[in-house]
């Protein structure tokens, strides 16, 4: 029994209250019997008082438990519970009165024991009502409590606690100390009764209901009080439980706070519509401030906005219209007006409020009140909706009176519209961010796919070493290189570069690979290869795109290579015998520039013999055109010098050195703004 669940507290206090009450009745009846028969019952007055005190305590615990349990109950439910218990207690009292009225002067009517039992029953109901109401008042007083109010209440509770024991010193005499105590407690009650913060939160209808309930509480309290007073004057009742300072003070408190609440509610009635309006506005504002989720639509926000504007301004009609570029449509764009009226009113608006030109920056875009020359609607308020600095729409509110829109309305409406526009803007930005993220993902996939288009392994015989490297400015790029083994001694090297960079270049690069891979199978000579490639690519490249390429057909047995260049950056050839390097100069036009037979006159091929130790360095323009902070280009000479100095190194090392040198030149953080690739071949 040490562990008490909250449920048992309520039941235990109820049982205890009943038990104490039964004991109280028995004790009192014994005492009355003794009094009537002039016997000594051996039971002191104090026993009655102690039992009464215990009964009060039990009631206090019971109602405190009930109120704790119903913490979520609204004010009206609470008031009704108070009023109903009051009606019940008062009804029980009146019923007793009625019974005694009917009994008249019969013997049963003057039976003291029965009278006392009825008295005890009424006493119990009255006490229960008073406790219920007092704790209800406590809840109301401490609504939106401050520290000060809590302190006041604690003082009041303490004073009531002292009053509970007062009877032991005062012995139920209505002397000055009783009056003094009563005055102090009433003063405290009045002090507490100014805490009526719950009233403004009631709606107009709720106020009427609470007025009724408060009236019922006051009415019941008055009847019960009157009856208690009349008991006090009745000689038949030999034991008086109710001339008790605590009970009187409780009456006072219940009555005073009830009266205050009643009057304040009554006087609050006329202004309650204003408060309700403000509350609605606050709720609307909160609705508009909530950012829209990506999957929700903008129409909902605009719908709420239109509703809010209408209710905030008490408009007689309204419509919302959108910039044609927005492609927005609201199912209920017209409110309280038909389409004919709408057309008529639109034509009455100034031209400025009809056009969709971009808003002027100097224009603060506030709601604008307009006087209308219309038979029904005399004034209008035009509220521009601006999202991302674009006039996306406007709301027009209508009133049947002239100058129907005051400053307060305009300011709240402007706040509404701004808030809604911010919500829309955020919604759009969020959607954009999500889309961007998706694009990023797609680009990553593209990057992976494109990397796979470049060869992992470069075909080459023991007679030459080869390595290659490619880097893109964006996620994907337009550079391409490959090698192809024709037979044991013949190999083809190819490098290509699509004009521009990024995604479009990447798609063309994939086409280029397809074309090159097909043509390379045909065993064409380099110039014939370029002619065919031009013919094929001319059909698939966009008009303003072209491809440059270099091709080398190496014959390791003859130690010679045949080379053709199509608008591509010339290839550096380091000749070991002369210890000298040069860019191979051979004329040749880029692929896709001349998209007809005439191209064939613009491409050539030439065969060169090479020696062991010779180096070929195939490049794309990203390397030559790499720029430093001063705007200087990396240029051909730096490449040439580097290869001449590092010719003893392996192709891999030369490649690494060149890329490092390029990065060093461009500068630490400088990004190379183009795709760049290179392929290094060293003959053994």
């Amino acid at each position: 029994m040490i562990k008490k669940s909250p449920l048992s507290i309520g039941k235990i206090s109820l049982l205890l209250a009943l038990l104490v009450w039964v004991v109280l009745v028995i004790v009192d009846l014994v005492r009355i019997f003794a009094l009537i028969n002039n016997l000594d019952s051996g039971i002191a007055e104090e026993v009655t008082w102690t039992l009464e005190l215990l009964f009060f305590l039990c009631l206090f615990l019971l109602y405190r438990y009930i109120f704790k349990k119903n913490r979520q109950a609204d004010f009206l439910t609470l008031l009704w519970s108070g009023a109903s218990s009051g009606l019940f207690a008062a009804g029980a009292g009146l019923l007793t009165e009625l019974i005694y009225f009917n009994l008249g002067d019969s013997k049963l009517g003057s039976e003291p024991f029965l009278q006392n039992i009825f008295y005890h029953i009424n006493f119990a109901w009255t006490a229960a009502f008073l406790f219920a109401t007092a704790l209800l008042w406590r809840r109301l007083i401490l609504y939106q409590k401050s520290k000060q109010v809590v302190k006041q209440w604690q003082v009041f509770e303490l004073a009531m606690g002292v009053a509970l024991f007062f009877v032991f010193f005062n012995h139920n005499n209505l002397d000055y100390s009783f009056l003094f105590g009563l005055v102090i407690l009433l003063f405290l009650s009045i002090l507490l009764s100014v805490n009526l913060k719950w009233i403004p939160y009631l709606t107009y209808k709720e106020k009427w209901k609470s007025l009724l309930f408060l009236f019922l509480i006051l009415f019941s309290a008055s009847i019960l009080f009157y009856r208690i007073l009349s008991y006090g004057n009745e000689a038949r009742l030999l034991i008086n439980l109710t001339d008790n300072l605590f009970l009187m003070a409780l009456f006072g408190f219940v009555f005073v706070y009830g009266l205050f609440s009643f009057l304040v509610t009554l006087f609050n009635l006329p202004t309650s519509s204003v408060f309700e309006q403000k509350l609605t506005e606050a709720i609307n504002f909160q609705k508009l401030s909530q950012s829209i989720q990506p999957e929700e639509n903008e129409e909902q926000v605009l719908d709420i906005l239109l509703d809010s504007c209408i209710s905030a301004s008490f408009s007689d009609g309204a419509w919302i219209e959108f910039n044609p570029s927005e492609q927005l449509q609201l199912p209920e764009a017209l409110r309280f007006i038909d389409s004919d009226t709408h057309a008529a009113l639109t034509s009455l608006l100034p031209a400025k409020n009809r056009s969709w030109t971009a808003p002027d920056r100097s224009d603060p875009l506030l709601p604008q009140a307009i006087r209308l020359a219309h038979s029904t609607y005399k004034s209008a308020l035009v509220i521009p909706l601006v999202v991302n600095r674009n006039l996306m729409g406007r709301i027009v509110l209508l009133k049947e009176v002239k100058e129907g829109f005051n400053k307060e309305m305009m300011s709240i409406i402007s706040t509404f519209s701004r808030q809604a526009c911010i919500a829309l803007e955020n919604h759009r930005l969020l959607n954009q961010a999500i889309q961007n993220e998706r694009y990023q993902e797609e680009l990553k996939i593209a990057q992976r796919v494109q990397k796979a288009l470049l060869p992992l392994h470069l075909d080459h015989p023991a007679s030459f070493d080869i390595c290659a490297y490619s880097n893109t400015a964006d996620e994907v790029g337009g550079d391409y290189y490959d090698t192809y083994k024709v037979d044991e001694q013949r190999f083809v090297l190819i490098i290509g570069d699509v004009s521009g960079k990024g995604t479009s270049a990447a798609f063309h690069m994939a086409q280029m690979k397809g074309v090159f891979q097909s043509l390379i199978q045909l065993g064409l000579s380099p110039a014939a290869f370029m002619k065919k490639a031009n013919a094929a690519l001319s059909k698939c490249l966009e008009r303003n795109h072209f491809i440059t390429a270099s091709i080398f057909s190496i014959d390791t047995e003859k130690q010679a290579f045949c080379h053709s260049r199509a608008g591509h950056v010339p290839t550096l050839w380091y000749r070991a015998q002369e210890n000298k390097s040069d860019f191979i100069s051979i004329e040749g036009m880029g692929l896709g520039i001349l998209r007809n037979q005439r191209y064939e006159n613009h491409v050539h091929e030439k065969t060169y013999g090479y020696n062991p130790g010779d180096i070929l360095m195939l490049l794309t323009d990203g390397i030559v055109e790499g720029k430093n902070e001063k705007g200087e280009q990396f240029g051909y000479d730096r490449i040439k010098t580097l290869v001449e100095q590092q010719h003893t190194q392996s192709p891999q090392e030369i490649q690494t050195l060149l890329v490092e040198s390029l990065h060093h030149f461009v500068g630490g953080d400088g990004m190379i703004d183009d795709d760049y690739s290179l392929m290094v071949v060293k003959f053994n």
């Binding site: 004009s499 072209f546 608008g567 036009m589 520039i593 613009h602 323009d621 055109e625 280009q633 703004d673």
Partner: protein, 114 residues
Amino acid sequence: MLQIEKIKEETYDTLRLLGEVDASNSVLLDQAMQEVLQQGTRFLLIDGHELSYISSAGLGVFMSYLDDFSEQGIRFAIFGLNEQVAEVFHILGLDQLIQIVPDKSTAIALPHVS
């Protein structure tokens, strides 16, 4: 950075390019060419004295109008390119399709090539 100045003279139009033409601004060059063509020019000159760099995307713009020029008999020439930029035209082989000359007077004196 690219700035394009349009200069209209009696028998020819000149587009003066200042700065660099790269992938990010080649669309501006394209727009300018488009406008001049729509205004019905018969002779278009590009002044490249202040052109410090042209990327392949910029070259692509010139290239894409070559068919229009030959179909409509519009004369087109570029003059005043610095060595580096002229080299870019040369490597690509565009100098075989476009008249690239040292200065404006040479450009104006060019015979009409049909």
